[in-house]
Symmetry: C2
Subunit: 347 residues, 2 copies
């Protein structure tokens, strides 16, 4: 358990007891270890996590992360100090993020109702536009230039593309590949070629190609037509935030960082950030974390637990009398929501 | 006039007579020259435009482009062969794209009505993520790597940032800077520094910073709160497609490619592409082109004409009896819409 910063801490602390009890009720014993890594630690000791952080984490079956980000720490410092070392260090190439519009939740999109939006984005998670490669230089005549390089490897790209094809096989057989190959003739054309290659192993999957501008627009225009989507690190980042809002609130969006070989632990976290604007008010939506826990169970092959938790959250959201947090139109606290869910699932 | 491909040709041919007549009615004489550059030319002669294309265009006051793109020509060929040579060759650093929800037009966003959405994106137009810089290599052990580099210069960045601050001064005094500085510590941090520097010359402008994932989401969640937005080439591309759809249809979104020094002609075009799926049906929405023409008049300091055309389109859209194309819920043709507007403006 790495609660991290801001509301990351709030949702982690609020949901962990339920996680353990629910597992116990299914005869699964969960043992948690807490690490107070994050921006406060950085501000005191100069690093978000200790030097041997990865060594320590390596021993665990799974990692739950709350959120990292702090107004006094530059974002790229936060990222380079904690999230990237873990996702890259553990080859967590695969970021799977479902967007699901639950019954009883209002989408900001006209005419969309529960169940209409049911898509999953497979986002490359270890390289691409997030590569820490680049530089800048003062040139003559007062000019200056900065270069930011995206790096795509066959290994990293194949891993996510293959995961997406596998998912498409289990779901509706349709895969949408979102790139920007008209403007990025090196990285994105390489990506498209790998999609093309891998598609030959999956002759039954229909592949649709979209450019990221059109893809972002179509997440608003016709989200119901998407099923499995595969995209680069940056495009996946953008698309999943849009996916979060069209299915109600970013506070409900879950995320996974999966090491496909199973050699290292995978990491699960809500998509929402540390949200310092609402920190301390106790009103953070716990649903993003709860659904992330469900995806963790799925990854650990505890399918029963995964389903129970997911369906429990769904039933709670569908019940207009159940407590809900302000971001989805209620006035309940984080603990109200978790308490009510606990009653539904355990009593 | 470069009608280009697909519906680009349809909207250009349909609207040009109105452009000329309207100008004449305001004692402005417009002389047009037509160039049949585009993908058909590429398929026959191997290039979308002739070698001396830029030399030829240089003599004109303004360029109107329909759209380029063809199913048989790879997108990056199209781009490198026509649009990029013009925008880069003529230092058209500034892409200004308003998103305006007209009265009488339905947004796919719940609860948004005419006038609620009134923002303008200033998109860097000559460099950044669209730089044609990169490469790929086969490495040992069957691995392969592709690099795609974004290039930001002080000149190109300052030009767009300054234009955005100028616009903010003329509008509400608020500017939103959308980057991804937490993940891109070279290019985007450089960009942020230039925004910071230029902001010192505009002490009255309030600058808000957003990351592109949150920004894309907020274009859906709270588009009414944006006024002037500044973003890189790629982020501007994504944001303006979202801006197009939330204000009704991409078919209505206008665009400009402005050379700030005035040394070279600027170029005006609708945001929609060549749309081969509806080509030949005569149902392309001419509004994107008409509003682009209005922005051209503004650029040429024919403010009266600019306003007359913009307001004419607005009045037509607000009139529920007026013809409209299928993309915004009507069943009229391109020519019906232009004909009706002609009556409104000239009779
Ligand atoms: C916190 C940030 C670095 C992160 C990202 O850009 O990947 C976030 O936006 C996300 O989507 O998980
Ligand atoms: C056609 C394409 C290259 C272009 C772009 O990406 O800039 C288009 O999407 C646009 O927004 O004008």
């Amino acid at each position: 358990m790495i609660p991290g910063d801001g509301i990351g801490i709030e949702v982690t602390e609020a949901t962990e007891p339920l996680l353990i009890e629910l597992a116990a009720a299914h005869d699964v014993e969960i043992e948690t270890t807490w690490f107070d890594w994050g921006s406060e630690r950085y501000l005191e000791e100069g690093a978000l996590m200790p030097d041997d952080g990865l060594e320590t984490l390596k021993e665990f079956d799974a990692i739950l992360l709350g959120a990292v980000g702090h107004p006094d720490v530059p974002d790229h410092v936060t990222l380079r100090n904690l999230r990237l070392p873990i996702t890259k260090g553990f080859n967590q190439h695969i970021c799977k993020r479902p967007s699901y519009l639950f019954d009883g939740v209002e989408s900001p999109l006209r005419g969309y109702e529960g169940g209409d939006i049911d898509l999953v984005v497979y986002r490359q998670n270890t390289e691409g536009e997030y590569a820490d490669v680049g530089g800048r230089e003062h040139q003559g005549f007062g000019n200056e230039v900065a270069v930011q390089s995206a790096v795509y490897t066959r290994e990293g790209t194949e891993a996510i593309v293959r995961a997406a094809f596998e998912a498409a096989t289990e779901r509706s057989g349709k895969l949408t590949n979102i790139t920007k190959s008209n403007a990025q003739a090196y990285g994105m054309v390489f990506w498209d070629e790998i999609v093309e290659e891998v598609s030959e192993e999956y002759p039954d999957i229909t592949v649709e190609r979209l450019l990221v501008d059109a893809g972002s627009m179509d997440f608003v225009r016709r989200p119901n037509e998407f099923d499995v989507v595969v995209a680069s690190n940056l495009f996946g980042d953008i698309l999943t935030d849009i996916g979060g809002i069209i299915s109600g609130s970013l506070g409900m969006a879950p995320s996974t960082n999966i090491n496909p070989s199973g050699e290292f632990p995978s990491m699960f976290e809500p998509v929402h950030g540390s949200a310092f604007d609402i920190m301390g008010e106790g009103i953070a939506n716990p649903v993003g974390m709860l659904l992330s826990m469900s995806l963790m169970f799925e990854h650990l092959e505890e399918d029963d637990l995964a389903e129970t938790l997911w369906d429990g959250v769904g039933a709670q959201l569908a019940d207009s009398d159940a407590p809900r947090t302000p971001d989805i139109g209620g006035s309940a606290t984080t603990l109200d929501v978790v308490g009510d869910l606990e009653e539904r699932l355990l009593e």
